[in-house]
């Protein structure tokens, strides 16, 4: 053999040793991009075969792979993962390159390298990827040994999953982050019963931010300034938070998933728990990521594609329902409803006594119970305790689980009666939240005012107004984002004029009723542009911020009647004002009632005095009615008279409203 061949052979084997060393070093360092780069000089490795087969099967473009990586097609083509935690990718280019991420992931399965702080090999860290790739590529255990994943096994055994339930705490107007409600996922344990479900764990996706409100909160929330993470929290803690602290009804939508699907989704949840996404209030929010977690299962792919520009929790329930994924819906009333029902069960005198006991303690009421039978005494003490605790929670803004001595005394007296409490029966509302009207709206109407007739058309992005069909929504709450109303006038002179009447960015009315015990303030806030002039040809707009606080009361409860009074203020900006700004304050009174389930009536009067020097006292009176023709179709009739900047206008109009 010629010497140079010998030399060549030696060099070849030497360089392959060197390269194999570099390969192994990269593998044990967890640098999988390098592993891939070194692969060509390491021809016999099993990874070659796996990558070749994955490419032959085009797994990198498989919906499951794209789902596991949360890849979305970018604006200019190409892929971009929604996951923003660097630890989620095995390749440095994994966020934008699913094919490279797949190769690097396959490489990582050969490595023992652990990723701090989770101290797990890639096989254990990326459990769902491993599970799926192992099945697709039929891993040879001799050449790619399966690692033991004790922590993952413990996680799965702790959750003992059998099914999944989407939990929907309804709207919470007093919190900026939950005004549309919230969704989370409950992991239903094997053998779950009604009694044990509160012990199950939930997967809750939330922004890592304090709910402080304010402008910077809003801006960060809208632009992805917060990070969002999944957390595992016992369901009893979530029940406590929503039903007791925030007085929200909770709906549970049980999903009909196969046990293998549930397990695969939880494998993927395990992959997501340590990492994070950027949180966007309207789009990549809690409800979106509940869906993005479920859609890793091939059959549910595309769940997150149902949404135009925002994801409302209630709309995600509709998506699940529409796909036939919901097997059962369960209603849990809020603490508030339970207390109200308990109040109805006893006489007004006993109710007053309960209130006094809650306020002053049992000792301050000696002999008050004399002559009452034990059942009656029990009912009074039960209500007194509910009052006491409600008040404590309202005052502390946090549920402390500790007992106070006063509480203990009350309960001790209660236990000595040896009477079992009669549980108030609270029936679920006839219409579930997902069965109410859809949240986007468009309308077309005809009207007449002093200076001509008009055709009105308008759109609203989300959510619910007083005159929208009420079933499925709270009766004391209206919330609109992005509402635009425009009018095409035909003036008495025969001219045509298109004019923007108003464009509201946000409008929120939260009129929670007060009574002898529940003392919440009614408040509202709105901001946007409104027309300044009564002249169809005058297109001047003012930008305004409006807000008020006051009181509202429930009347004629069978008809969901509500009356309210607010002290209101309006700050408006326009160059037409003497000092550019105009401020007015005054009162607003209103009432609404449902004469029947389809019929809504609403009346309001308002008078605000100008406190700047424009002499513009804003007065308005309005009377409106609506009739629901179907879940997503309604008619409205509005009569109003109001004073704009340059004069009064009286309007009568009628229109059709569609929800979509």
């Amino acid at each position: 053999m010629p010497l140079y061949l010998l030399f060549l052979a030696f060099f070849a084997s030497y360089s392959s040793i060197v390269c194999a060393d570099a390969f192994d070093a990269a593998l044990s360092a967890g640098e999988y991009d390098k592993v891939i780069e070194q692969l060509p000089v390491h021809p016999g490795h099993y990874l070659h075969e796996l990558i070749a087969e994955a490419e032959a099967k085009n797994l990198a473009a498989d919906p499951v792979w794209l789902g596991l990586g949360h890849y979305k097609t970018g604006l200019f083509g190409g892929y971009l993962s929604e996951v923003d935690g660097g630890d989620f990718f095995t390749s440095r280019r994994g966020k934008t390159d699913p094919a490279r991420e797949l190769r690097a992931t396959l490489a990582s399965f050969f490595s023992d390298a652990t990723v701090p702080p989770y101290d797990m090999s890639a096989q254990c860290r990326f459990r769902a990827r491993y599970h799926w790739l192992k099945r697709e590529l039929r891993f040879d255990p001799a050449r790619l040994p399966e690692k033991e994943c004790k922590r993952f096994d413990a996680y799965l055994q702790l959750l003992a999953p059998e099914g999944l339930t989407v939990v929907f705490p309804t709207t919470h107007p007093n919190s900026a982050s939950s005004m549309f409600g919230h969704t989370l996922l409950r992991v239903d344990r094997v053998g779950q019963t009604d009694a044990t479900k509160m012990l199950d764990y939930t997967l809750n996706y939330a922004a890592e931010a304090d709910d402080s409100g304010g402008l910077s909160y809003a801006i960060k929330g809208l632009t992805g300034g917060f990070i969002g993470k999944f957390h595992i929290i016992p369901y009893y803690m979530k029940l406590r938070e929503y039903a007791q602290m925030e007085n929200r009804d909770i709906w549970e939508y049980r999903l009909n998933l196969e046990p293998e699907t549930v397990e695969f989704i939880l494998m993927h949840a395990w992959e997501l728990l340590p990492t994070h996404f950027d949180y966007y209030f309207f789009t990549e929010n809690c409800s979106y990521h509940v869906l993005s977690l479920i859609e890793v299962e091939e059959r549910y792919r595309g769940l997150t594609d149902d949404y135009p520009g925002w994801v409302l929790p209630v709309d995600t329930l509709r998506s699940l329902e529409r796909r036939g994924m919901v097997s059962e819906v369960v209603y849990n009333p809020s603490h508030y409803r339970v207390i109200n029902e308990r109040r109805r069960m006893i006489s007004p005198d006993d109710e007053r006594l309960a209130r006094e006991i809650a306020r002053d303690g049992l000792m301050a009421q000696p002999g008050a119970m004399a002559g009452k039978d034990p059942e009656q005494q029990a009912a009074i003490l039960d209500l007194a305790y509910d009052y006491f605790r409600y008040d404590k929670i309202a005052r502390n803004k946090m549920i402390a689980s500790e007992l106070s001595e006063q509480e203990r005394q009350l309960l001790l007296a209660r236990s000595k009666l040896a009477v079992t409490t009669q549980v108030p029966v609270i029936t679920a509302p006839d219409v579930r939240p997902d069965e109410g009207h859809k949240t986007a709206r468009a309308h077309l109407g005809l009207g007449s005012e002093d200076r001509g007739d008009f055709i009105e058309f308008g759109v609203r992005a989300v959510y619910h107004d007083w005159l929208d069909p009420q079933p499925g929504y709270k009766s004391h709450f209206a919330l609109e984002f992005g509402r635009l109303d425009a009018r095409q006038y035909r003036t008495d002179e025969g001219d045509h004029e298109l004019k923007l009447d108003r464009f509201h960015l946000i409008r929120l009315d939260n009129f929670e009723p007060q009574d002898d015990f529940f003392g919440r303030i009614a408040w509202n806030v709105a901001t946007g542009w409104e027309s300044l002039s009564v002249e169809p040809s005058n297109h001047e707009l003012m930008y305004l911020v409006r807000g008020g606080g006051g009181k509202s009361m429930s009347v004629a409860e069978a008809y969901s009647g509500l009356i309210y009074g607010l002290w209101s203020g309006e700050l408006a900006y326009s160059s037409d004002f003497q000092h550019d700004f105009n401020l007015a304050t005054g009162i607003e009174l209103g009432a609404m009632v449902n004469p029947s389930s389809r019929w809504r009536a609403y009346a309001k009067v308002k008078h605000l005095e100008d406190v700047t020097k424009d002499g513009w006292d804003r007065s308005a009176v309005e009377f409106s009615q609506s009739w629901a023709l179907g879940t997503n179709l309604a008619m409205q009739l509005n009569l109003s008279r109001e004073r704009l900047f340059d004069g009064w206008r009286s309007v009568i109009k009628a229109g059709f409203y569609v929800y979509f």
Binding site: R151, G191, R240, R389, L412, K416
Partner: protein, 168 residues
């Protein structure tokens, strides 16, 4: 016997039936076995680590219940039985609701506790009225701890003619 008792607690907390554990006496029971095996070494750390890092976010506990900080956050290797921790955590986090339910002789939290303790449907009413009768002992003072409530409950069940079978 002790192992069996722990297994019962473990499995009952998971919402499984207590019979499974009893039938499975020698082999141990699922997660319980794993945790018991790891009692002195790695297993303990694994369970503690899960509770620490992933299952229970620190911030959550800091803001809601300082009472649990020691048990959950302080990775104490002697506290190895996760299910005991789960049980204690449930009681500690729901002291007020449990206290109310016991005084009233009914309620969702008391039902859950009965399930946790493995009490069969036929004995649930007996259990609930027992807690009402024993309220003064179970909550002897306002700052009673979760451990003390559980241990008083244990004692009361031991002394009870039908409920004693659940605590032997």
């Amino acid at each position: 016997m002790k192992m069996k008792a722990i297994c019962i607690t473990l499995v009952a907390t998971l919402g499984l039936s207590a019979q499974v554990a009893m039938a499975d006496d020698s082999a141990g029971c699922g997660i319980g076995k794993m945790i018991l095996e790891g009692k002195s070494s790695k297993g303990a750390n694994i369970t503690a680590a899960i509770l620490n890092d992933i299952l229970i976010p620190r911030t959550f506990f800091m803001t809601t219940a300082s009472i649990m900080d020691e048990e959950i956050l302080g990775c104490d290797p002697s506290k190895t039985v996760m299910k005991d921790e789960e049980q204690k955590r449930f009681v500690a986090m729901n002291m007020d609701s449990l206290s109310r339910d016991m005084a009233q002789g009914q309620g969702a939290h008391l039902d859950a506790l009965a399930a946790v303790l493995g009490i069969e449907a036929s004995d649930r009413d007996t259990f609930k009225s027992m807690t009402q009768d024993e309220y003064a002992t179970l909550f002897s003072s306002a700052d009673t701890s979760a451990e003390s409530v559980l241990s008083s409950l244990h004692t009361a069940m031991m002394a009870h003619p039908t409920l004693n079978k659940y605590v032997q």
